[in-house]
Symmetry: C2
Subunit: 111 residues, 2 copies
């Protein structure tokens, strides 16, 4: 995953801007919609796939992995057959709620 400037996120570059930091941690456009879903509670992969119109499984996997690495969400695997995987927000992830809420207000007002 690359940052907003197109550099690998594990490269030693210093970003001063908090907005850029937030955008890099959140990841991609899909992350916002994953957040929207997870604020209402834990979800499985297939539930997210159905709820988010237009995501390919790869895009969803990539976004979830990125968010997991950045400790926005946790991934829990239940070794059943077929396997069950649940995604839920961490405190860090829950704290993004204010941003998404403001987006929702703005979108309802101007969209």
């Amino acid at each position: 995953m690359k940052n907003i400037q197109g550099k690998e996120l594990d490269q030693p570059i210093v970003i001063d801007c908090s907005i850029e930091k937030a955008l890099n941690i959140i990841g991609s456009k899909w992350s916002f919609l994953i957040l929207r879903e997870l604020f209402t509670g834990t979800k499985r992969f297939s539930e997210l796939q159905r709820a988010i119109n237009g995501v390919s499984p790869k895009a969803l996997t990539d976004a979830l992995r990125h968010m997991e690495e950045n400790e926005i969400l946790v991934r829990t695997v239940y070794p059943t057959v077929p396997v069950k995987v649940e995604y839920s927000l961490t405190e860090k992830g829950q704290d993004l709620h204010k941003i998404i809420k403001e987006m929702k207000y703005w979108g309802a007002k101007w969209g």
Copy 2:
């Protein structure tokens, strides 16, 4: 410009989600950084280019055009030589400040 599902924005599709509406109107990742700059006042193309680390002129032009079409900012051309072009936020654009502010808080806390 395409929407978050990859469809052209002028296609007759209905989006119910306010978050998606907001994301589609804002446009791309660069838009957030353009907003960051314009909240401090009117800026010229070259000022934005210098202030936003890593934008290509094409990416900047594309983002500005998209934001202009969506009435987030206005573009004013002064017919001097060389020409001078200024970008400034509309009321709709100013109103995005809450979102960016929350991003900034979050980035400062967790980033």
